[in-house]
C-alpha cells in the first residue's frame, strides 16, 4: 500500500477550504446581530487550543490517523465503537454540506432543477477525486484556494460602495449573552468541524507539521469568514441579515457598479462549489478510511463509490425542507457536534498522554 504524503501547503489549503466551505454562503449563526464579528473572533480564539490538542495527537501517534489512535488507545472493541461514531459523523457531515448546496441551488440558482441533480454531480466528482487519492484532493485544493481567494477579494472590493458603517453601531447592543451563543455556534460550525481532518493525519509529512497546518489553516479561514461576515453585515444590516438563508448571495446581488457591473451573484456562487467540493471530498475520504479500518479492508478505495452514493442519497432525505435545515444548522448542531469535536478527542488525548507517560516511565521506547 503506497503511502500518500501531501505537502503542508496543500494541507493548509484543504483545511481553509474545508472550514470556509458551507459557511461562506450559509453565513454564520447570527443571534447577536451587529456584534457577530466579536463572536467570530472569540470562536477562532477558542478553536486554537483545540487545534493544539489535535496537533499533539499527531505527535503522540506519528503516522497514524484518528481511527488507528482510537483503536490503539481504547482497544479493539471500544475503539471500533468510537470509530463507528466518527464514520457516522463524517458521513452525516458530508450529507449536510451536500444538502446545503442542494438547497442553495434549488432556492436561488437553479430553481426548476430537482435538488438531487446538482448534489449527485458534485457527489460523483468527489467520489472520483477521493478514489484517485488524497494527493489529487490536495493539489486541487491548492489551485481552487487561489481561485476562491481571488473571487472573494474582488467581490469584497466591489461591495465597498455599498457599505453602510452605521450598521456596526451600537456595539454589543443586546449584551454578551447572544455573543456567547453565537460563539458556541460558530465554534462548532464551521471551525471545530476540522476534527474530520484527524482522519487524514496519515497524509501529513513530518512529525510536528500538524501544528502549522491546523493553526495557520484555522487562522486564515477565520480571517476570510470574518471578512465575509462583516461585508454581509455592512451591506445588509443586522435586521435583513437575520431573515436570509443565503446572506452572501443577496449581499453580492446588491453590487451595482455604474449600472454596468451588476447581477454578478451567480458567478460568485462558483466559489461555493469549489470549497464545498473539498469539504465533501475530505468527509468522504475520512468516512471511507474509517470503514476500511473497522472492517480491516486492504484499501479504502473499495468502498468509496458505495459510501459516496450513500452520502448523496442521505443528503436527499435528511431534511424535510430548508427551514428544518436552518434550524438544525444553528440550533441543534452545536450540541450534536460537541462530543465528536471536543469530548472524544479530549478523552483520547488525556488517555494517550497518561499511556505515553507510563510507558516512558517503564521503558525507554514504546516501539
Amino acid at each position: 500500500m503506497g503511502k500518500e504524503i501531501i505537502p503542508a501547503g496543500q494541507s493548509i489549503s484543504i483545511v481553509i477550504l474545508f472550514i470556509i466551505g458551507s459557511s461562506l454562503f450559509m453565513g454564520t449563526s447570527g443571534e447577536s446581530g451587529n456584534s457577530s464579528w466579536i463572536a467570530l473572533i472569540l470562536a477562532v480564539l477558542l478553536t486554537l487550543p483545540l487545534m493544539l490538542i489535535y496537533a499533539r495527537l499527531h505527535v503522540l501517534f506519528p503516522g497514524k490517523n484518528l481511527y488507528d489512535m482510537l483503536i490503539a488507545v481504547f482497544g479493539g472493541f471500544i475503539g471500533r465503537l468510537f470509530c463507528c461514531l466518527y464514520i457516522w459523523y463524517t458521513l452525516h457531515l458530508g450529507s449536510l454540506v451536500l444538502r446545503n448546496y442542494g438547497e442553495f441551488s434549488k432556492t436561488v440558482a437553479l430553481t426548476s432543477t430537482p435538488m438531487l441533480a446538482p448534489m449527485l454531480i458534485v457527489g460523483l466528482l468527489c467520489i472520483w477525486a477521493v478514489n484517485a487519492g488524497m494527493e489529487v484532493v490536495g493539489r486541487s485544493a491548492k489551485f481552487l484556494l487561489l481561485f476562491t481567494l481571488a473571487v472573494i477579494v474582488v467581490v469584497q472590493l466591489l461591495s465597498i460602495p455599498k457599505f453602510e458603517y452605521q450598521h456596526l453601531q451600537p456595539l454589543l447592543d443586546s449584551g454578551w449573552g447572544p455573543v456567547f451563543q453565537d460563539m458556541a455556534g460558530t465554534f462548532t460550525f464551521p471551525f471545530a468541524e476540522i476534527v474530520v481532518f484527524l482522519g487524514a493525519f496519515t497524509v501529513l509529512p513530518r512529525k510536528g507539521s500538524a501544528v502549522r497546518v491546523l493553526i495557520s489553516g484555522v487562522v486564515i479561514a477565520g480571517v476570510i469568514i470574518i471578512g465575509v461576515s462583516v461585508r454581509n453585515l455592512l451591506v445588509l444590516g443586522p435586521e435583513i441579515l437575520s431573515s436570509l438563508y443565503f446572506p452572501s448571495y443577496v449581499a453580492v446581488s446588491r453590487i451595482n457598479i455604474g449600472d454596468f457591473l451588476t447581477r454578478i451573484e451567480g458567478s460568485s456562487a462558483i466559489i461555493f462549489v469549489t470549497s464545498l467540493f473539498i469539504k465533501v471530498s475530505l468527509c468522504l475520504y475520512v468516512a471511507c478510511q474509517g470503514i476500511a479500518r473497522v472492517f480491516k479492508l486492504e484499501s479504502y478505495r473499495s468502498v468509496v463509490l458505495q459510501t459516496g452514493l450513500i452520502m448523496v442519497c442521505m443528503a436527499d432525505f435528511i431534511y424535510k425542507d430548508i427551514t428544518q435545515m436552518q434550524y438544525f444548522a444553528y440550533h441543534i448542531y452545536k450540541i450534536y457536534a460537541l462530543p465528536f469535536q471536543v469530548f472524544i478527542p479530549l478523552l483520547l488525548w488525556i488517555t494517550a498522554e497518561i499511556m505515553a507517560h507510563r510507558s516512558t516511565g517503564r521503558e525507554e521506547d514504546v516501539q
Partner: protein, 385 residues
C-alpha cells in the same frame, strides 16, 4: 479491458454524455416570455382584492421599428403571486420579472399597509429587490402606466431613468424595495417613498415625480410636497445635488445655488434631563444664476448670500421636521436610530414609547452654506450705458 473495445466504449460514453448532459435543464427562449417593465398595484373595490397592472415590453415589435412596443394588462386576484401566475392565462406566456424596474402602488393600498404587496417581490427568486417603489398620488396607480398610450414610450423605463437622474433635483427620495424593507425593520427609523403624479400642462399629460409619502410602519400616513421633501432629504443626509434658491435683500427670489455636496450630522445630546437632537448640515454650492445686475462686490456680497441661504435652509429644515413631528409622528429622519447608535442605554429606556418621544423631541438645526464658485462668470451682467 484494453484495446479497441475500451476505446469504442469511451467514445460511446462520450457521445451519450454530450447529448444528454450539455445544455440547460429548463431552457427557455426570449420569445417564450413576456418581459415585465413595471407593475402598478391598486385595490379592486368590486371584489375587495388587489388589482395588478403590468407593463410589458413587446418583443413581437419587429426589428425595423426603432421603438420597442409595449403592452398593458390588468388582472385582479387575492394574492400578488396568484395574479402574477394567472397572467399566463391572458398572455399565454410566462412573465419574466428580472428586468422589471418600477412598482407603483396606489395611495389607498399604501394606507392599508405595504407588507402584503411587497413581500412576494422581495421573497421570490424570479424577481429582484432592486426595484424602485412609487406611491401614486392619483386615484389609481394604473393611470400612470396608462400614459404610455399617449406618450408612446415605456413609462417604467422612463421612470427608472428619472430615478437615476433624481440626484440632480433632490425633490423626491429614491427608494428600492430592499431599502424600504430595511427601514421597516430597523428600530428608530420610518420609511418614505416617492410620490408620482400626472401633471397636465397645456393639455400635455406627463408623469411627475416630486414629493414623498410618509410611512409609519408599513402604512402611509401622509404626504410631503417636493420642497418639503428636499429639506427632509437634507435632514436625512440624502442630498446629492439639486438647487437652492435664495432671495435678495428685498425678499425676491434672485439667486440659484447648485448643490455640489452636502453632509448632515445628527447628534443626540442629553441636556438638562432632556434628549436633544442636534442636526448640523454643511453644504457646498456654486452660484449658478443671478437674476439681477447687482454688484457682487458691493453691498450684496457673496458672504451675504451665503448667510441668507444658511438661515433660510436652517429654518426650512426645522419647519419640515416640526411638521412631521406634529402631524405624522413618523421618524423618517432616523433620529431614533441615531439615539440607538450613540446612546444605547437611553434608547432601551425610551424605545417602547419612541413615537411619543419623537413628537416632543427637542430639535436644533444649524446649517451652513458655502459658495465655492460662481460658475463661468466672475461678475454679474453689466448694463452698458
Amino acid at each position: 479491458m484494453k484495446g479497441p473495445a475500451s476505446r469504442l466504449l469511451a467514445v460511446l460514453l462520450a457521445v451519450c454524455m454530450l447529448v444528454s448532459l450539455s445544455g440547460c435543464w429548463n431552457y427557455s427562449e426570449i420569445d417564450d416570455m413576456s418581459i415585465v417593465a413595471g407593475v402598478a398595484l391598486d385595490t379592486n373595490k368590486a371584489d375587495n382584492n388587489i388589482q395588478m397592472t403590468v407593463e410589458m415590453v413587446d418583443t413581437q415589435g419587429g426589428l425595423q421599428d426603432n421603438e420597442t412596443g409595449f403592452k398593458i394588462l390588468s388582472l385582479s386576484g387575492d394574492t400578488i403571486f396568484n395574479i402574477a401566475r394567472s397572467m399566463i392565462s391572458i398572455t399565454g406566456r410566462k412573465l419574466f420579472w428580472s428586468h422589471a424596474k418600477v412598482i407603483i402602488i396606489s395611495e389607498e393600498l399604501a394606507r392599508e399597509g405595504l407588507i402584503k404587496v411587497i413581500d412576494w417581490y422581495s421573497r421570490d427568486t424570479e424577481t429582484r429587490a432592486d426595484v424602485f417603489i412609487f406611491i401614486s398620488g392619483e386615484q389609481n396607480a394604473r393611470q400612470v402606466l396608462d400614459l404610455n398610450s399617449t406618450k408612446k414610450t415605456i413609462i417604467s423605463f422612463e421612470l427608472a431613468q428619472m430615478m437615476r437622474d433624481e440626484k440632480f433635483t433632490g425633490t423626491a427620495p429614491v427608494v428600492e424595495i430592499w431599502d424600504f424593507i430595511d427601514k421597516l425593520e430597523t428600530p428608530g427609523k420610518n420609511a418614505i417613498a416617492p410620490l408620482i403624479n400626472i401633471s397636465e400642462v397645456n393639455g400635455q399629460k406627463n408623469e411627475r415625480v416630486a414629493g414623498a409619502a410618509v410611512f409609519v410602519g408599513d402604512r402611509m400616513v401622509g404626504k410631503l410636497d417636493g420642497k418639503e421633501t428636499q429639506f427632509t432629504l437634507f435632514a436625512k443626509n440624502d442630498i446629492k445635488g439639486g438647487v437652492l434658491t435664495v432671495d435678495n435683500e428685498r425678499g425676491i427670489p434672485t439667486y440659484s445655488l447648485e448643490i455640489l455636496s452636502s453632509r448632515t450630522k445628527v447628534k443626540p445630546v442629553w441636556t438638562g434631563g432632556k434628549l436633544q437632537l442636534q442636526v448640523s448640515t454643511l453644504t457646498h454650492t456654486g452660484l449658478d444664476e443671478v437674476m439681477s445686475t447687482v454688484d457682487l462686490n458691493g453691498k450684496e456680497s457673496i458672504q451675504a448670500i451665503e448667510e441668507r441661504a444658511s438661515a433660510d435652509l436652517q429654518e426650512q429644515i426645522l419647519a419640515v421636521i416640526r411638521k412631521v413631528q406634529r402631524e405624522y409622528q413618523a421618524d423618517i429622519f432616523g433620529f431614533g436610530k441615531a439615539v440607538h447608535d450613540d446612546m444605547p442605554q437611553i434608547w432601551h429606556g425610551i424605545e417602547k414609547r419612541w413615537p411619543q418621544e419623537f413628537k416632543e423631541l427637542d430639535i436644533k438645526v444649524t446649517s451652513k452654506v458655502v459658495i465655492q464658485s460662481t460658475a463661468k462668470s466672475s461678475r454679474t451682467i453689466k448694463l452698458g450705458d
